[in-house]
Symmetry: C2
Subunit: 138 residues, 2 copies
DNA sequence: GTAGCGATGCAACGGAAGTGCATTTATTGT
DNA sequence: ACAATAAATGCACTTCCGTTGCATCGCTAC
């Protein structure tokens, strides 16, 4: 518990009760979560607060936003040392077509791509869609 | 003109007036287009028709849908020989942070990725965000 | 204590995707 | 050519999320 407070404070995020709960929820889940997921997990919660909490978390480098192609914004906690604010932690994401869960594959970085003349890369997003380990049954 | 009709018919899409117009519009643009773009291009057009036209085009392999991370569905004509229905034409896409335009880089295929044990890949989406050739000024 | 600022909660807005159903237009069979 | 059938189009409406405005609450500093 104190652990979470320290983490938040180290990223200049005031550790309010709600924020600690959200952080804890995301830490327990090992998959990317959507705003609606959190909303459903906490009966007594307001969507706006959750929305702004995630926004703050993102700005302060507590979480990173994931676009897995479903059209729904998902979020996952940043690993220690993740520099995703600087687009320096370009790991790929896997979205399961069966269970709809999305996971970070933090060990798998996006390979460097040679672009045509004139194109300048600043950020990259690579999502693999398929069947996850849980659903493939092994 | 006859050319377009033949293309559509070869993909079992009836070449109606509207469909030919939309196809022509997409062929002239060299970038991915959103439903709203088409809507604005044709003053006298109904969104539903455009929506369903794009859906038909996609199902029949005339266009492929692009998720460039903006949250807006975009579409581009399939190159001749593109097998994107079968997830066999995994080229990457480039989204310009400056002009918001998205282009297909059909020559640049998504590199093969080794996934952890148990994960089965079926599809992939790679979007590079940055500054396009037009905006980088060369 | 009180002034000030950040966090929270409620309500409402907005864009875009998607659906139901009536109408028009094209195709087919006689 | 005509009727029957199917496909395409148009209008209205819905839903889902993300987003914003504004009032209120609660902590913190002076
Ligand atoms: Mn991630
Ligand atoms: Mn493309
Ligand atoms: Zn799964
Ligand atoms: Zn550009």
């Amino acid at each position: 518990m104190k652990e979470i407070e320290k983490t938040l404070e180290s990223k200049s995020v005031r550790p309010t009760a709600m924020r600690i709960l959200i952080y804890k929820y995301m830490a327990e889940k090992e998959i990317a979560v959507a705003l609606t997921d959190i909303e459903n997990a906490f009966a007594k919660s307001d969507r706006t607060t959750l929305y702004r909490t995630l926004k703050t978390f993102e700005e302060k480098g507590v979480v990173h936003q994931i676009d897995d192609g479903t059209g729904i914004h998902k979020y996952a906690l940043c690993e220690p040392g993740c520099n995703c604010e600087l687009d320096q932690d370009l790991h790929l994401h896997f979205h399961c077509a069966n269970c709809d869960e999305t996971v970070c594959l933090t060990e798998h970085k996006i390979p460097h791509i040679n672009l045509p003349e004139g194109f300048i890369a600043e950020d990259a997003n690579l999502v693999i869609k398929g069947i996850c380990e849980k659903c493939s049954g092994q």
